[in-house]
C-alpha cells in the first residue's frame, strides 16, 4: 500500500533519474573519447547541449501538425513513467503496481510509435526513412526484450518488476544459466534500442546510415532538447533494467532512508562500469549494414527464447 516514505522515495527516484540521466550519456561519450585517444568534452556536456537547445527558438516546418509538436512531450512523459516503475534505488515503489514488465515493454513501444509517427509527419524523405528503420529495429527488439523479462518472470513467478528484483536479490550468487543467455540477449537489444553501434551510430549525420537522427532531423530548439533528454533517460532506464535483472545486489528493499543512501553509491558504481562496457563494445565493433540488423536482432531474440527453454529444461 502507499506510504509516505514510499511516495517520497518514488519521487526522489524519478527526479534522480531525470536529473542524472544526461551524466550517464556524458560518461559513455567521455569513455569513448578516451579510448579513441581524444580528450573528450567532459561528462557534463549533455547538460550544456540541453541548455543551449532550450534557450533557442524552435523552428517548425510549415506543414507540421499538432502531433509533431506534441510528440517530444509525450516521449518525455513515457520515459519518465518507465523510470518510475523500474526499481532504481529501492523496491518500495507506489507506482509499481500501475505497470509491470509487460507494460514496461508497452511504454517503450508507445514511445517508439509516437516518434516514428512524428518522423513521418513532415513528409520528408529522411523522416519516413528513419521511421521505417526504427520500426524495423523495433519489431524484433521489442519481443526480444519481452522474452528477456519473461525469463526473470519465470524464475520469480511474477511480472511485477519490484517482485522480480526482490526475488533475484535474495538468490545468493547462484548463476542461472538461463539468465546468462538472457543477459547476452539484453545487451544486444539495449545497444539496438538506444541507437548505438553496431545498429545505429549516435554521432553520425551520414544520411545513409542513420536511424534515430533521421527521425529527429526536423526538430529544433526545446523540442529537440526534450527528445535528447528522453534519449538519455531511455539509456538510463535500460541500464537500470539491466542492473535490476542481472546485478540486483545492493538495491534497497523497503523504503528506509539508510538503505536508499547506501544504494546510491552502489548504483553509481554499477552505472559507471556499465557505461564503460558499453563504450568498449562500441569501440571494438563496427556499424553494420542496415539489413544485417534483423539478423543481429533475430539472434538476440533467439537467444532470449533459448534461455526460456533452458530454464524449462533445467528447471532452474
Amino acid at each position: 500500500m502507499i506510504s509516505w516514505p514510499g511516495l517520497i522515495a518514488q519521487l526522489t527516484e524519478i527526479l534522480l533519474a531525470i536529473l542524472l540521466a544526461p551524466v550517464l550519456l556524458g560518461w559513455v561519450n567521455q569513455c569513448r573519447a578516451w579510448m579513441q585517444n581524444k580528450s573528450g568534452p567532459g561528462i557534463l556536456q549533455p547538460y550544456r547541449t540541453l541548455r543551449k537547445l532550450f534557450a533557442k527558438e524552435a523552428v517548425l516546418a510549415h506543414n507540421a501538425s499538432p502531433l509533431f509538436r506534441a510528440m517530444p512531450y509525450a516521449l518525455f512523459a513515457c520515459m519518465c513513467l518507465a523510470a518510475a516503475i523500474v526499481p532504481i534505488l529501492g523496491t518500495d515503489l507506489p507506482f509499481s503496481p500501475a505497470a509491470d514488465a509487460i507494460a514496461l515493454v508497452g511504454i517503450f513501444a508507445l514511445a517508439r510509435v509516437f516518434i516514428s509517427l512524428a518522423a513521418m509527419d513532415i513528409g520528408t524523405a529522411f523522416g519516413s526513412l528513419g521511421a521505417r528503420r526504427e520500426m524495423m529495429v523495433g519489431f524484433l527488439a521489442e519481443p526480444a526484450l519481452l522474452m528477456v523479462l519473461f525469463n526473470a518472470s519465470l524464475i520469480s513467478h511474477s511480472t511485477s518488476l519490484t517482485t522480480i528484483v526482490e526475488h533475484l536479490a535474495h538468490v545468493e550468487f547462484v548463476i542461472y544459466p538461463s539468465l546468462a543467455f538472457a543477459g547476452i540477449a539484453f545487451t544486444m537489444v539495449s545497444l539496438a534500442e538506444n541507437a548505438r553501434i553496431p545498429v545505429d551510430n549516435p554521432s553520425t549525420h551520414l544520411e545513409l546510415t542513420m536511424i534515430h537522427e533521421a527521425m529527429v532531423l526536423e526538430y529544433s530548439g526545446r523540442h529537440l532538447a526534450l527528445i535528447e533528454w528522453s534519449a538519455a533517460l531511455k539509456l538510463f532506464v535500460y541500464s537500470c533494467i539491466g542492473i535490476a535483472l542481472f546485478f540486483p545486489f545492493g538495491i534497497a528493499e523497503g523504503g528506509d532512508a539508510a538503505g536508499l543512501l547506501l544504494a546510491l553509491p552502489a548504483l553509481a558504481a554499477k552505472l559507471a562500469i556499465g557505461g564503460f562496457v558499453m563504450a568498449l563494445i562500441e569501440m571494438i565493433s563496427a556499424k553494420m549494414r542496415i539489413f544485417r540488423a534483423p539478423e543481429y536482432l533475430g539472434t538476440a531474440f533467439l537467444l532470449a527464447v533459448l534461455a526460456m527453454l533452458i530454464h524449462l529444461l533445467l528447471g532452474s
Binding site: E57, L67, I122, P143, G221, V305, M308
Partner: protein, 663 residues
C-alpha cells in the same frame, strides 16, 4: 414485465421492419439515412442494454412457432449469447450511426435496398447468437451469409467485386457444410435441439471428428489459415460500414460458434485439440500480420490485420481448451477472459478503422495508400479518432488492445505447470511468436497511419478533401470512446466476462483483489496493471513538462520550410510509399511471399518498376483444388451425351445392375 429475451426479439423484429421500410422507398435517401439507420442504432443500443441485463441473470429460452413442423425454432439467451449480443449491440450502434451519413445515391445498390440487407444482416447475426437448435442455427447462419453477400456485391457493376463476392459465398458454404456435418454428429440419435446435444455422450473418436468439423466450419467463417483467402477480397469490396460490420461482428459469430460447440455442446476437451487450435492460431496471426505489412490498399491492409487478430483469438481459445482439458480451471478462465476481451477489443478498433477508411474513401475517392497522405490537415476529426484506433490495434498501453494482449501473455507465463513436458517446450516458442506478431502489428499500424494521414499529400486532388459529416463523426467518436473505455476500465469489463467463464468453465477469474483501479488477475504479487494511473502519470508529466518549459524558457517558434538536410528540391513523391515502408518486411520475411519483380535497367528511357506480392497458399492449395475439380467434372461430362438413346441405355444398364444385386 417482458424479459431480456423478449426485448431482444422485439429489437430484431424492429430491425426487419426498418429493412422492409427501406424496400418501399428504395431511392428516398432522406428517409433511409435520417430515420431508418438512426432508428436501427437506437435499437442496437436497446439490444445491448437487454443483453447486459441478461448477463448476470438466469438463462431464458423461448420456442417460436416457426420452422419445421416437428422442429420449431428454439431460442435461448445465456451468458455466452448475452456477451456476444452485447458486443453486437454496442458496436452496431456506432456503425449504424456512421452508416446514416455514409450510404448515398449512385454507389451501386440503391440506399433503400442497402438498408434492407444491412438490417437483415444484423438481425440474422443476433439470431445466430440466440439459436438453440441446429436447424435454426443453420437457417440464420445462411441468412447471415446471403445478406452479407448482397452487401459485399453492392457495387456489382465491377467484375472484381463480383469475383470477391463469389469467393466469399463459396468459402462460406464450404464452411457451412462442415458445421452441418458437425451438428449431424453431435445430435446422436435424438432431435436437433442443442439440449439434446448437451445430453449426448460421444465416443472419443466421434468427438474428435466433430471438433475437427467445427474448427473447419467456423474457421472458414473466421478467416483461419488456410481458409482466409476470402477475407482480403471481400472486405475491400464491401462498402465501409459493411466491412466494419463483417470484420467486427460477423467474424466473432464464428468464434461464438466455436466456443459454443467446444465448451457447451461437447462435454470433453482433449488437450491436443487445444494445441491444434493454438498452432493454427499462431500461423494465422503471423501470416496475417506479415501480409498486412506489405499491402498497398488500405482496406486490404485492415483485412489482413483482421486475420491476424482472429489468430490471437484462436490462440486464446487453444490455451483455454488445453487448460480445461488438464483441469486447470483458473488458468482456463484467464485464457478465456483474454480471448473474449480480445473479441470485443477487435470489434471496436477494427470497426473504427474501417469506418475511418470509409470517410477517407468518400473524401478522396482513393483506396490506394500510395495516393493518399497528409490528411490530418484536411480531415482532423477522422485523423485524430483514427489515431486512437491505430494505437489501440497496435497493442499499446493504456488503450484496449494492450489489455487483452497482456492477459494472453500472462496466460502463457503460467503454462510451465502443464503435465506434458513437450507441450511445455512449445509454450515459450508460442509466446515468442505472439510477442513478435504483436510487435509487427505496431509496424503495420505506423505504416497505415503514417502513409494515410501524415506527411505531404501525394496527389494534388487531396487538397479538396473534406472532413467527415456529423453522423460519421458521432459513429467514430462512439467507437473511439469504446476503445478508451475498454482500455481504462478492464476490471469492469472482466467482471462482465466472468459470467461467461462461470457458465462455460465453472470458474471465474476475479479481476482484482485491490480495488477497481488495479487489474490483478491472479494475485497482486504476480502481476498488476492500472491503466488509469498509467494514463494519469503520462498526462501529468506531459503537463508539468510543458509548464516547466514555458516557465523556465520561452514558447517562441517560427515556421519555415522543412529542413531535410538542406535539400530544397524535395517533393511529396520522395516520401516513403506503402511499398517502400513495407520493404523491410518483404525482405526479412521473403519466404512468406510469392513475389514478382520487374526492375528497370539504368538505360531505360521510361523506367518502370513493378512488384507484385501474392499468397503462396493460393497456388499451393486453392489452384490445385480448382484443377482437380475441373478434371473430375470433365470426366463426369463424358457421361453427358445429349442423345436420348444414350440416356435410355444408362437407365437400362442401371436397371440391370440393380436387378443383379437386389433380387
Amino acid at each position: 414485465m417482458p424479459g431480456a429475451l423478449q426485448l431482444i426479439l422485439g429489437v430484431i423484429l424492429a430491425w426487419l421492419a426498418l429493412g422492409l421500410a427501406g424496400v418501399f422507398y428504395p431511392r428516398n435517401l432522406y428517409l433511409v439515412s435520417r430515420v431508418l439507420f438512426p432508428a436501427g442504432a437506437l435499437g442496437a443500443l436497446a439490444l445491448a442494454a437487454a443483453a447486459l441485463s441478461a448477463l448476470g441473470g438466469v438463462t431464458q429460452s423461448v420456442v417460436l412457432p416457426l420452422g419445421l413442423p416437428e422442429l420449431p425454432f428454439h431460442l435461448r439467451l445465456d451468458a455466452l449469447s448475452a456477451f456476444f449480443l452485447l458486443l453486437l449491440g454496442t458496436v452496431t450502434a456506432g456503425i449504424s450511426v456512421f452508416a446514416a451519413g455514409y450510404f448515398r445515391q449512385g454507389e451501386g445498390t440503391a440506399p433503400g435496398l442497402q438498408c434492407l440487407y444491412y438490417h437483415v444482416f444484423i438481425a440474422s447475426m443476433a439470431l445466430v447468437l440466440l439459436a438453440d437448435d441446429a436447424y435454426a442455427f443453420m437457417v440464420f447462419w445462411e441468412t447471415m451469409a446471403l445478406s452479407s453477400y448482397f452487401l459485399v456485391t453492392s457495387d456489382h457493376a465491377k467484375a472484381e467485386i463480383r469475383r470477391a463476392g463469389f469467393l466469399y459465398i463459396l468459402i462460406a458454404h464450404i464452411g457451412a457444410i462442415g458445421i452441418l456435418l458437425c451438428f449431424g454428429l453431435l445430435h446422436g440419435t435424438g432431435d436437433y435441439t442443442f439440449d439434446t446435444m448437451r445430453a449426448v455422450q460421444l465416443a472419443p473418436l466421434w468427438a474428435t471428428i466433430a471438433f475437427a468439423l467445427a474448427l473447419f466450419g467456423f474457421g472458414a467463417k473466421a478467416g483461419m489459415l488456410p481458409l482466409h483467402v476470402w477475407l482480403p477480397e471481400a472486405h475491400p469490396a464491401a462498402p465501409s460500414p459493411v466491412s466494419a460490420l463483417m470484420s467486427a461482428v460477423m467474424l466473432k459469430t464464428a468464434i461464438y460458434g466455436l466456443l459454443r460447440v467446444l465448451f457447451d455442446l461437447l462435454h470433453t476437451q482433449v488437450w491436443w485439440w487445444g494445441v491444434v487450435i493454438l498452432v493454427l492460431g499462431l500461423a494465422t496471426a503471423l501470416y496475417g500480420v506479415v501480409f498486412s505489412a506489405v499491402q498497398t490498399d488500405m482496406k486490404r491492409l485492415l483485412a489482413y490485420s483482421s486475420i491476424e487478430n482472429i489468430g490471437f483469438i484462436l490462440i486464446g481459445v487453444g490455451l483455454t481448451v488445453t487448460f480445461q482439458a488438464y483441469g486447470m480451471r483458473a488458468l482456463a478462465a484467464l485464457a478465456l477472459t483474454a480471448t473474449l476481451y480480445h473479441c470485443i477489443n477487435h470489434a471496436y478498433f477494427k470497426s473504427l478503422l474501417f469506418l475511418a477508411t470509409g470517410s477517407v474513401l468518400h473524401a478522396t475517392h482513393e483506396r490506394a495508400l500510395g495516393k493518399l497522405g497528409g490528411l490530418i490537415h484536411r480531415m482532423p476529426w477522422v485523423a485524430w479518432l483514427a489515431l486512437i484506433g491505430t494505437l489501440a490495434i497496435a497493442g499499446l498501453p493504456p488503450l484496449n488492445g494492450f489489455v487483452s494482449e497482456w492477459l494472453l501473455l500472462q496466460a502463457f507465463l503460467f503454462t510451465p505447470n502443464l503435465p506434458q513436458p513437450y507441450l511445455n517446450m512449445l509454450i515459450p516458442v508460442a509466446a515468442a511468436a505472439v510477442a513478435l506478431a504483436a510487435a509487427l502489428a505496431g509496424y503495420v499500424m505506423v505504416k497505415f497511419y503514417g502513409v494515410v494521414f501524415l506527411g505531404q499529400p501525394r496527389e494534388p486532388s487531396l487538397a479538396t478533401a473534406r472532413d467527415a459529416g456529423i453522423w460519421e463523426r458521432i459513429g467514430l467518436v462512439w467507437l473511439a470512446g469504446g476503445c478508451l473505455g475498454l482500455g481504462l476500465a478492464p476490471v469492469w469489463v472482466i467482471g462482465v466476462i466472468d459470467s461467461v467463464s462461470g457458465q462455460l468453465l465453472g470458474k471465474t477469474l476475479g479481476a482484482s483483489a485491490t480495488g477497481w483501479m488495479f487489474l490483478t488477475p491472479i494475485s497482486p504479487d504476480r502481476a498488476s496493471y492500472a491503466p488509469l494511473l498509467f494514463l494519469l502519470v503520462i498526462l501529468g508529466v506531459w503537463a508539468l513538462t510543458w509548464l516547466a518549459v514555458r516557465r523556465f524558457y520561452h514558447g517562441q517558434m517560427h515556421r519555415a520550410p522543412p529542413w531535410d538536410c538542406g535539400f530544397e528540391a524535395q517533393t511529396a513523391r520522395m516520401q516513403d510509399t506503402a511499398e517502400g515502408f513495407g520493404q523491410p518486411i518483404r525482405q526479412v520475411f521473403e519466404p512468406f511471399f510469392r513475389m514478382q519483380r520487374e526492375l528497370p535497367t539504368p538505360l531505360d528511357a521510361k523506367p518502370r518498376y513493378r512488384v507484385s506480392v501474392e499468397d503462396h497458399l493460393w497456388y499451393w492449395l486453392y489452384l490445385p483444388i480448382v484443377k482437380f475439380t475441373q478434371t473430375i467434372s470433365r470426366v463426369v461430362t463424358l457421361l453427358q451425351r445429349g442423345r436420348i438413346s444414350v440416356y435410355l441405355t444408362y437407365s437400362f444398364v442401371t436397371l440391370l445392375v440393380l436387378l443383379l444385386f437386389v433380387r
